[in-house]
Amino acid sequence: MAARTMFEKIWDAHVVHEEPGQPSLIYIDLHLVHEVTSPQAFDGLRMAGRKVRRPDLTVATADHNTPTWELTRPIEDQISKAQLDALDRNAAEFELPFYYDRFSENQGIVHVIGPDLGYTLPGKTVVCGDSHTSTHGALGCFAVGIGTSEVEHVLATQTLRQFKPRTMEIRVDGDLPNGVSAKDVILGIIGHIGVNGGTGHVIEYTGEAIRALSMDGRMTVCNMSIEGGARAGMIAPDDTTFDYVRTRPYAPKGAELEASIEEWRGLTTDSGAAYDRTVVINANDLAPFVTWGTKPDMVAQITDRVPDPASFGTTAEREAAERALEYMGLEPNQRIEDIRIDRVFLGACTNARIDDLRAAANVIRGRQVNSDVYAMVVPGSARVKAEAEAEGLDQVFKDAGFDWRVAGCSMCLGMNPDILDPGQRCASTSNRNFEGRQGKGGRTHLVSPEMAAAAAIAGHFVDVREF
């Protein structure tokens, strides 16, 4: 058989039906469901008298609307509550065995719990009505975000109609310099390829710097593939992946797991297989990054200055930069380190896993949040929260003056009560700095957990390498 990429191997193994000129019918091994993009899909099933074909391959949780205050306090927003109630009803009516409501010990951001609980496994096809489904590709699976019509399609048929995407290799050569995290790797990549650099492609991240990342770090990288326009991101499974899977509660165990691991070793891209595109990045060129604008590719190194829109090549780029600076309340050539912040958000499916919390805690231990800053930590899941508390990380954050919250998507997109006030400036570990993303008029700077933690203490951005 011809040499194939990892993506092609997984794709080929899931084709149910193909016809020339038509999208392929692909079997879906895992469907993750949350409250925002599913109610209309369940309604569609109901109206057509259809069932969920494979409830056993469907995992649902409540994450976007859930308040991050203590669970004993009721939800005040009645529209949010109605959406959460709808998922309760749909999970019961369609008999979903794996539904984790906001009180469950397994609840959390859908892209945190899938891998953490052991549902996401190498070689699988994974979908969710959420663009950050790309996260799951870190385990060596093909994971794509879909719209609500496709959610309904997968619920009804356990398949997805897809035109085969093209493949793109992004290789990060060399060792990451000290103080440069997985978040900086992906911000650097997006800064390089642009917000539509990956459109129509599945990215496979390769190279020494990627191999050296922990699973949590790999998930951070794959999470933001969509911010570069890609359909999905993936990383070949290796011993780091298998060691991670071995400790997951709902992953296969014992001889069954070891047999699967032997199969998964064969998923890696064959030598001689061709990608449609390859981008090479040198790890030495990466540094802690901060976004200065309103798209994730508007990034600068911490030691740099805010760019002058006049320095951009095209009129469209110039106008976009001018508009971004106006929205962000920044001046051309202002030093990034001189930007003062009002809020810090440590959370989201990008950076709310245990490694992220540990890394941030190491920066703030024994220090105090700046008196001008309100800082909050929102763990990615109830399990991550419990794990962090068992290690005493909650106390480290509380002692420093951080608010320690209950798991959920929170201020990544402001569907729950956690939002920025107009004009407020936030150092955020989330994935999108779009206008109004964290609340109308809010100003978002994307950074790593370490950089967010350091900014919380300093009151402005600061180079974590020298902090």
Binding site: N65, D130, S131, I146, G147, H153, F434
Partner: protein, 196 residues
Amino acid sequence: MEPFVQLEGVVAPLDAVNVDTDMIIPAIYLKSIERTGFGPHLFDRYRYNEDGSENPDFILNQEAYRSSRILVSGPNFGCGSSREHAPWALEDYGIRCVIAPSFADIFFNNCFKNGLLPLTLPEPDVRRIMDKAKDNPGFQITVDLEAKQVRDGEEEIVVDFEVDEFRRYCLLNGLDDIGLTLQHEDAISAFEARQA
């Protein structure tokens, strides 16, 4: 799904690059459990002032563009989230076609599931339509999916386009995807039997 064959209507120029899904409809409006009713929140942050009044500078608030059925914009339209509320909001407002040099993948796909045509045209053609729509408020074009052509009344602009044939067929006939897939029930069951 309502078939899309020929669409004649006013063109609204939204001259910006990377129009994202939070711009099309902010997350705060995604809480409804219905498929309809999102139109009033389309481009919410730009259409309305702080006090909820209309922002007269926004294109869709100008009289000649209020009844637009076609939107023309810059590259990478619809980037960001997978929210189908974005095409739902456009459709609920009355817009059934977006013309741009390129689209983000998930948005592009979501449009076809809802009877909307995301039409990719070469940048110079998009620019000509954009300029014409800016200079002549109320400028109308016909998007003819059957003939695969965009044209204005005077035929100053006539652009032939390509759309994937399968997607075109589904749009022209207003076909439900799930129904089509269930014709392959045997293949799905056979796949499941092999996996078990």
